[in-house]
């Protein structure tokens, strides 16, 4: 497909990288030459310098014949304008990043004029993810499927714990609940385990489980942590606003530390229930004064990654039960791995998964795609996809043990009439089910029927 991306910032670059690997023809437009050079040098894409909202530049970039236009510049207004221009020039689908919640209403009002296929808000998505983690502090990552009924959670395996050295078949016996380990991170590599796999200390396992079993799972694994009642946010960014609202609504005590006075005033206006502190969050003395030692969770959201990492390290050092760090940069994730009480959140990965899902559904050509959700995990190496089973799905009602599912594909969960089943050989797909599939990202699944080895003749 021909895709034009306007804005080559962090989100833009991640998207470009992901979409280019999926085999699409990309043209990237940005007004800064410096930002473009990285994409031009390392990705097989065409770059153009200039204002993406200019019609002549869009024409030159081939927007009129493009399948999709994605506007992810730093300014919402530019993004919306880019999409309107692109739409007028004849681009079929447009996606804009719109960050300010003030524009939500306007977007709704102008939906016909804007003609957006999708609008994404990375900060809101990130806030939602952080909120999800705070509800279950035992897990370092949590993805939800089937309207929240099925979950994939990341659990670190500690050395010397009872999980260390345990083969998978025994694990299922020991846990006494049906869960499925769908991916294991070991020494920077990702393994999709089979029956003979043995866990080792230092691994991070990604477990699929019904939401209702999560509490039992925590109990069995002795991962219980006190419920988080108070949260400290360092940095009053947009994520802090979204997150603060969610946390206050959930009845948690929220304290936000922000060093810019005007921003503090705005935050105070928007979040009346939160305590807004005008102080420098990078000073450890300030953090102690504000009661860092007593909070249940520390979340670092400043705009500078290095600051976030250092403040988080300090928080862990003091023994804060849950520390979440926001990281924007691309290069850090490789060596910053989640540990037992620290999680790393990267808004751009979330957004690019959402857009990837949209693009793959577009490719599918069917009027209504069966893909419901796509989550990229473990730094984007593994994907968990949710599909709806419809009448076109093959091998309906056949026991899974007889279905030729391709190698490297895991059927992680089936959701049927509000019930989540962790499938075994005798389970089957039924029309109306939601199915969660886990696989490596290079498989590029776009339809449920792609998981079968042999396509039966119609």
């Amino acid at each position: 497909m021909k895709i034009v991306i306007i804005g080559d910032g962090k989100v833009g670059f991640t998207l470009t990288q992901a979409l280019s690997q999926e085999g699409h023809d990309l043209t990237v437009i940005d007004s800064h030459r410096g930002a473009l050079s990285q994409a031009a040098d390392h990705l097989d894409v065409m770059v153009m310098e200039g204002n993406g909202a200019s019609a002549s530049l869009q024409r030159e970039a081939g927007v009129p014949s493009a399948d999709l236009l994605i506007a992810v510049t730093s300014a919402d207004e530019t993004n919306l304008l880019c999409c309107m221009v692109g739409r007028k020039l004849g681009c079929k689908h447009t996606i804009a990043r719109v960050r300010s919640s003030e524009y939500l209403e306007a977007q709704y009002l102008l939906r016909d004029e804007l003609g957006l296929s999708m609008s994404v808000n990375p900060e809101k998505i990130a806030a939602r993810e952080i909120f999800g983690l705070l509800k279950f502090p035992s897990f370092t990552k949590r993805e939800t499927f089937a309207k929240g009924r099925a979950q994939i959670v990341a659990i670190p395996v500690h050395e010397g714990s009872k999980l260390d050295g345990m083969p998978l078949p025994q694990l299922y016996k020991a846990l006494k609940i049906r869960v499925l380990i769908c991916a294991v991170e070991r020494e920077g590599e990702v393994i999709i385990p089979d029956g003979s796999f043995v866990l080792k200390g230092g691994d991070i396992m990604h477990v699929t489980a019904p939401a209702s079993d999560l509490v039992t799972l925590i109990k069995v694994l002795e991962l219980e942590k006190a419920r988080i009642r108070s949260v400290m946010l360092v940095g009053g960014s947009r994520i802090a606003v979204h997150l603060g609202k969610m946390l206050c609504d959930a009845g948690m005590q929220v304290k936000i530390i922000e060093k810019d006075y005007d921003k503090c005033m705005q935050l105070g206006d928007m979040l009346p229930d939160a305590i807004i502190t005008h102080a420098d969050g990078t000073s450890f003395q300030t953090l102690l004064n504000e009661g860092l030692e007593t909070v249940g969770a520390l979340i670092t959201l400043t705009n500078i990654d290095e600051q976030n990492l250092v403040i988080s390290m300090y928080g862990s050092h003091l023994g804060v039960p849950k520390v979440i760090t926001k990281v924007n940069r691309l290069d850090y994730e490789d060596f910053m791995r989640d540990s037992n009480n620290e999680s790393i959140i990267s808004p751009r990965i979330q957004v690019s998964s959402d857009i990837l899902r949209y693009v793959r559904s577009m490719e599918n050509r069917k009027d209504e795609s069966s893909m419901v959700a796509l989550h990229r995990m473990v730094g984007g190496e593994v994907e968990a996809l949710e599909f709806r089973v419809n009448k076109d799905t093959q091998y309906l009602d056949m026991p899974l043990i007889d279905v030729p599912v391709s190698k490297g594909i895991l059927v992680a969960a089936i959701s049927r009439r509000g019930q989540v089943i962790i499938p075994r050989g005798d389970d089957h797909f039924q029309e109306g089910d939601s199915v969660v599939i886990v696989t490596r990202s290079d498989r590029k699944l776009s339809d449920l029927n792609d998981i079968f080895d042999i396509q039966p003749q119609d």
Partner: protein
């Protein structure tokens, strides 16, 4: 420096060149040229063997950067020339290996400078290979590699190679994918070559001549299959070649724009306008100059003037008559055209029109800056500001160009030839033209130079074709450093 990746790319190139040599082998077999059959067969097998043998070095990581791009390009061209020379040597067509090397480098770099005084007695297959090197070298063997090999062409890093091999100050893609871009370039290239072959056949040229001369025109090379170059062909055929030489000297991205029907952008292209006006003005001046010597025959004068101007400006190097006898003004004018060269992104050599144009514009801005010291005014090409880094590279290019030119002339003068011979030999090789003046004039050849001078001129040809920097960087200290062994980080 990612050595294994460099070896891998060389290995793939050898395989592809072995493939490209097959038609020559077939011709040799059909014409029962036994020595040539053996020579081609041995060369092809040798290349395949080396390619397979080096295949065992699996690169640990396949990413590479600008420095690898330069080194790959330079080494591919050197290795290519070394093996491309083998058929000449093994078949006994050319006696000394240095001469073979000179001839092959001259072929691949589309120079067309020859050490042979007599070509008509050579086997057909050897003549075919000699001309075919022009065709491959014109668009670039690495661009061909990018077009056919998913291993090389499907990567983001491939632009480093494309930039290092394609001529011009600013190399850009036509479409998002490098592989697609390379394919489009070769498609246009092949299409135009076939068109020329057909037009030449229509004019009654024998098929072998039509094919080889079209290869020479397409690559703007200049190897002919007759001793007197193009002299003995009919005026129609000479006109066809003239037009196609000019066409192959145009930036190929403009042809893509024509295919896309954006004629406006082609028409407004400043480089094309400059290129065509220089040709037009030169043809008029030279026509006026040579009218007396051709007994006032206007059509002959225009034809010869146009042919020579096109041939020299596009750095092809065919000739329809011995311009040695023309007045001095024509000599100097032709020498100037040698330096200007064809358009960027074409198959031609020289400094390139866009560089000259940019230089003029930049010099004008700099002069104005003397009057208004704080003035800010970007240099503009086609209405777009040229980045300062491009201008800086441009000046560096001119600096290095002049230094190489001067030192080459200095070293050539050891031979004791006239000043005009030394200068024109240097210009003809550095700008990939072929014939110069006096001793190396259109009716003569490079056979009388010493081994040292031949190697020096070979270096000049390579430097000229690859626009100096890739070749020069091979000698840069620090480029051959090996990274300390460690876990690799990729992002």
């Amino acid at each position: 420096m990612n050595y294994r990746m460099i070896v891998r790319m060389l290995s793939i190139t050898l395989r592809i060149v072995a493939l490209l040599m097959l038609p020559a082998l077939v011709i040799a077999m059909c014409c029962h040229e036994n020595a040539a059959v053996l020579a081609f067969a041995v060369t092809i097998l040798l290349m395949l063997f080396i390619s397979l043998a080096t295949n065992i070095f699996k690169p640990q990581k396949t990413t590479f950067y600008a420095r690898e791009g330069f080194v790959i390009t330079a080494l591919v061209w050197i290795v290519l020339s070394a093996v491309g020379a083998l058929p000449f040597y093994l078949s006994g067509s050319i006696k000394s290996y240095v001469d073979c090397l000179f001839e092959t480098i001259s072929g691949f770099t589309t120079t067309g400078a020859s050490i042979l005084s007599e070509v008509e007695s050579l086997p057909y297959s050897i003549l075919y290979w000699r001309s075919f090197t022009h065709w491959v070298g014109g668009m670039g063997v690495l661009v061909f590699l990018l077009a056919v090999s998913t291993y090389a062409g499907g990567k983001g890093d491939s632009m480093f190679i494309m930039r290092a091999e394609s001529p011009g100050p600013q190399v850009s893609k036509l479409v998002p994918r490098t592989m697609q871009t390379a394919r489009i370039l070769y498609l246009i290239y092949t299409g135009m070559t076939v068109l020329e072959i057909i037009l030449l056949l229509l004019g009654g040229m024998p098929i072998f001549d039509a094919v080889t001369l079209s290869f020479g025109t397409a690559g703007t090379g200049g190897f002919a299959v007759k001793n007197d170059s193009i002299m003995s062909y009919s005026p129609y055929l000479q006109w066809v070649i003239t037009v196609f030489m000019i066409l192959f000297g145009v930036n190929f991205s403009l042809y893509y724009l024509i295919l896309l029907r954006s004629f406006g952008r082609v028409w407004r292209d400043e480089e094309l306008r400059f290129y065509l006006s220089v040709i037009l003005v030169s043809v008029i001046i030279i026509t006026l100059c040579v009218l007396p010597s051709l007994n006032g025959n206007v059509s002959d004068s225009v034809r010869h003037a146009a042919f020579q101007v096109a041939s020299i400006m596009t750095t092809t190097g065919y000739c329809t008559l011995d311009y040695e006898i023309w007045p001095q003004l024509c000599h100097v004018l032709l020498m100037t055209l040698m330096v200007i060269g064809a358009c960027a992104g074409s198959t031609g050599g020289g400094v390139k029109c866009s560089r000259i144009l940019m230089l003029f514009k930049s010099l004008r801005v700099e002069t104005q800056r003397l009057l208004h010291p704080n003035m800010i005014r970007p240099v503009k090409m086609d209405g777009k500001a040229v980045p300062d880094s491009t201008i800086r590279t441009l000046y560096a290019y001119f600096g290095v160009y002049c230094m190489i030119a001067l030192s080459t002339v200095l070293l050539l003068s050891l031979e004791g030839f006239t000043f005009e011979t030394s200068v024109s030999a240097m210009l003809a090789c550095l700008n990939n033209i072929g014939p110069g003046f006096n001793v190396v004039g259109p009716a003569a050849n490079y056979g009388s130079f010493s081994v040292f001078s031949k190697l020096l001129l070979s270096f000049n040809m390579l430097a000229g074709r690859l626009e100096i920097f890739p070749i020069l960087l091979l000698f840069a200290p620090g480029i051959w450093t090996r990274a300390p062994k460690q876990k690799t980080h990729t992002f």
